[in-house]
């Protein structure tokens, strides 16, 4: 039962790796890596059940936190070019988003 779901998750991970190496823009790569992170969470959860140790859920929680922080940080960096930029001061005049 868990092996079938693990197989599907692993196939998805392989396709996401192909996408992350192929994607024409950097945003396609970020999108593929974001989905790869979600698949990592599911892989850890399913592995915990498959090998009889469901306590692996703590690792999956940590991976979920890191995945969100990482993808938002990369999106902000690729938009502003700077992670420490203060939007509230700079948003009025030079915000590139119309």
């Amino acid at each position: 039962m868990y092996a079938a779901a693990l197989l599907g998750v692993l196939v998805t991970m392989v396709i996401e790796l192909i996408l992350a190496s192929r994607g024409p823009t950097v945003f396609d790569r970020i999108l593929a890596v974001n989905t790869f992170g979600t698949m990592t969470i599911l892989l850890i959860a399913l592995c915990g059940y498959h090998f009889g140790r469901p306590d692996f859920m703590d690792l999956a929680l940590i991976y979920a936190l890191l995945n969100f922080i990482g993808s938002v940080a990369v999106a902000k960096f690729s938009r502003f070019g700077n992670l420490a930029r203060d939007h509230r001061r700079h948003a009025s005049g030079e915000d590139p988003n119309p």
């Binding site: 779901a5 593929a32 399913l46 859920m57 979920a64 999106a75 690729s78 938009r79």
Partner: protein, 133 residues
């Protein structure tokens, strides 16, 4: 009876979630531009992860001593702590997946990525499959 029903439901949820993950990944391979690929990428993030985590929650089950020590409410494996962790994980994924995709799409739009266009800089190399008709 109720155990076999629960087992069948866990099977359906796990295999269905894995199938939705693979369908979303194939959609990301085949769709033509960045915004349609984000549309395909929401499928493993919400429905695939939701179904798999819901199946694992049903498998780990509950063990609540509602009716006293002798007669507790017990479903599945009776591992309440793991079920609560899975519920936290599911709520976190449902909150943050659309938020990070939204931030990514806003960043891509601000950098000038447009519909049916692979890259704003090199129009020449990708213009043959950038034609909408």
């Amino acid at each position: 009876m109720i155990d076999s029903l629960l087992h069948a439901l866990v099977w359906i949820l796990l295999v269905g979630g894995a199938a939705f993950c693979v369908i979303g990944a194939v959609g990301m391979l085949r769709l033509p531009d960045f915004y349609t690929r984000t549309h395909a990428a929401t499928l493993p993030d919400t429905l695939g992860a939701g179904m798999i985590l819901l199946g694992l929650m049903l498998q780990s089950g509950l063990n609540l001593p509602l009716l006293g020590e002798g007669a507790s409410l017990r479903i599945g494996d009776g591992n309440t702590l793991v079920t609560l962790k899975l519920l936290t994980l599911l709520l976190f994924l449902l909150a943050t997946g659309p938020a990070s995709t939204h931030a990514l799409v806003k960043a891509a739009y601000a950098r000038g990525i447009r519909w049916n266009q692979a890259s704003p800089q090199d129009d020449s190399s990708d213009s043959k499959h950038a034609d909408p008709d």
